[in-house]
């Protein structure tokens, strides 16, 4: 699966900065949950989920950042992708939003962690 076969959906400025020149990146200024909703909408359009939306042990709403890989091609709605993203959105609501009170340095650390999680997905995606 080369770079043309997937799209990165992200609200992480670091991911956008690192990938926008070489990869298909959709950058949204959105909350964690809004970002997941954006991914869900695209799954309804027929894209397939390629990385897990709850990657990482930093919990939803503790980190404001999330980056997800989906297929660039569209087909029939993928039921498994839909079930995973719906469960992730549900799980997201269990955690209270703490994202508004971090210093710039801590936000940079959250961006880095999200990037390393995505990077491990990219390594697998690019191996195809």
């Amino acid at each position: 699966m080369g770079q043309k076969n997937y799209i990165v959906i992200t609200n992480n400025p670091l991911v956008s900065e690192k990938l926008h020149e070489t990869h298909g990146v959709v950058y949204k200024e959105a909350s964690y949950e809004e970002l997941l909703t954006e991914v869900r909408d695209r799954i309804h359009e027929g894209h397939t989920l390629l990385t897990h939306p709850l990657s990482g042990s930093v919990k939803p709403n503790e980190t404001p950042y999330k980056s997800v890989l989906i297929s660039s091609g569209k087909g029939e709605i993928d039921e498994r992708s839909l079930s995973i993203i719906e469960n992730a959105i549900q799980a997201c609501r269990k955690f209270e939003d703490k994202t508004g009170r971090y210093s710039a340095r801590v936000l940079k650390d959250f961006q880095l962690i999200d990037w390393t999680l995505l990077e491990s997905g990219l390594a697998s995606a690019d191996a195809w």
Binding site: L49, S55, G56, S57, K98, D109, T116, W128
Partner: protein, 426 residues
């Protein structure tokens, strides 16, 4: 394969001019352990402290907890592929220093967590309040990248643990336990009437501060494979993760994995403990497919009757857990899964982010969202600077009287998914 585990009980740790173990007391030369830590030029300074059970001490942010061990007979050495050269371990004779741990702490990222309280309500939840802890806090050189800092602290912990373990090489153990496994054919002949059971261990493998290493190999790059269960007792699996500390396995837990030890306890009595199968928890969904396919395939090829599956973490690995469970059951092999729960502060939300009817035998390590008040303690080893930013902490975290209102998530090992915790319904 036969491994003799010699247990040497440590009754106290004291700083002294010379490192040695005498009459159950571990004397540590601060200068010597500092030198061991500073062998890595990425570490600027290392300070050591001792925390004893019952003392008014809070250790945070904890990175890893390690039990010192030394290989005295047989192939290889402790932490193969990491500290010792690559060689298959798990046979011969190994000594372990019981009742103590090397705890590494260091602020690698700004939101880092991991608390060990040596007294109070927090101490009831973390198993490492019961060990004598030699705590190492490492400061990195300036402008270091987080990846390099993480690796430097991880390796420094193993080097110090190996140094301490080496002090026990010529001692006589207080107690010896023997762990013996059979080959596949031997097991079938010896225990023809016992159910064939294996342990499927899922390892964190997602990225920085979310990784595990097997014989030095990054677990996200492995395909599921088989271990002789005694291999873990020599440090075949080590931790590189510490975020959301309640349900991550520090290296101490890998060395002392209670699932493995309990299964050995039943081996030859109620079950034939065939082997340990390890698999990963990658973020890429096709990797999850491949790994769960392979895990189920191995279970089938080994003609297993049942497996115990333990998870590490929450969310992303819930999907691996359910995929493993479903596919293994589909091969006609019964499963019991061990997980923990994020059921919300009131415990009313759905516990896992994935589910399936095949997962009908579940053991839980507890609800990580459960709120706990940790009273102010007299001494902090490490830093509380970022404690309000940690997982499970909220705006009210640091209260006027100095106590902390947090979720169990922050306590190292509180809802451990191998059962290495103190929460129990028993």
């Amino acid at each position: 394969m036969r491994l003799e585990m010699g247990h040497i009980y440590i009754k106290d740790i004291q700083f002294a001019s010379e490192s040695k173990i005498e009459d159950g007391i571990l004397y540590v030369s601060e200068e010597a352990v500092k030198a061991v830590a500073l062998e890595d030029e990425k570490i600027k300074s290392a300070s050591f402290d001792i925390a004893r059970p019952g003392e008014s001490v809070r250790i945070t942010p904890v990175k890893d907890v390690i039990e010192p061990r030394v290989k005295v007979e047989g192939r290889g050495g402790i932490f193969p592929g990491v500290i010792a050269k690559v060689d298959t371990v798990g046979e011969g004779k190994t000594y372990a220093l019981k009742g103590m741990a090397v705890v590494t702490a260091g602020k690698i990222v700004g939101f880092q967590e991991g608390i060990i309280d040596m007294t109070g309500p927090g101490a009831d939840y973390t198993p490492f309040s019961k060990t004598l802890n030699l705590v190492m806090v490492c400061e990195p050189v300036d402008d270091i990248k987080q990846h390099d800092y993480e690796k430097a602290v991880r390796f420094a912990g193993f080097r110090v643990a190996a140094y301490i373990g080496e002090l026990a090489r010529n001692l006589t153990p207080d107690e010896t336990k023997v762990y013996e496994t059979c080959t596949i054919k031997e097991g079938m002949e010896k225990y023809p009437d016992l159910p064939r059971v294996a342990y499927v261990q899922m390892l964190q493998s997602q990225g920085l501060l979310h990784d595990t290493y097997v014989y030095g190999v990054d677990a996200k790059k492995i395909v599921p494979t088989i271990l002789n269960p005694t291999e873990i007792m020599d440090g075949a699996i080590v931790s590189g993760n510490c975020v959301s500390a309640c349900d991550k396995n520090p290296t101490y837990v890998h060395l002392n994995n209670p699932v493995v030890h309990d299964m050995f306890e039943q081996h030859g009595k109620t079950i034939n403990f065939v082997c340990q199968i390890i698999t990963n928890e990658n973020v890429y969904l096709a990797d999850k497919m491949r790994s769960s396919d392979w895990t189920a395939k191995i279970c089938k090829m080994l003609d297993l009757d049942g497996v115990i599956v333990s998870q590490e973490g929450f969310g992303n690995p819930d999907t691996d857990l359910i995929m493993n469970c479903k596919k293994i059951e589909a091969e006609g092999v019964k499963t019991v899964i061990i997980t923990d729960e994020y059921a919300g502060r009131d415990g009313k939300s759905q516990s896992l982010a994935d589910a399936d009817a095949a997962a009908d035998a579940v053991v839980t390590g507890g609800n990580a969202n459960q709120v706990i008040i940790l009273p102010k303690l007299d001494k902090v080893i490490g830093t509380l600077d970022y404690v309000t930013k940690i997982a499970g902490a909220s705006e009210e975290t640091l209260r006027a009287d100095g106590s902390l209102e947090v979720e169990l998530q922050v306590l190292t090992g509180a809802t451990n998914e191998t059962g290495f915790n103190k929460l129990s319904a028993r």
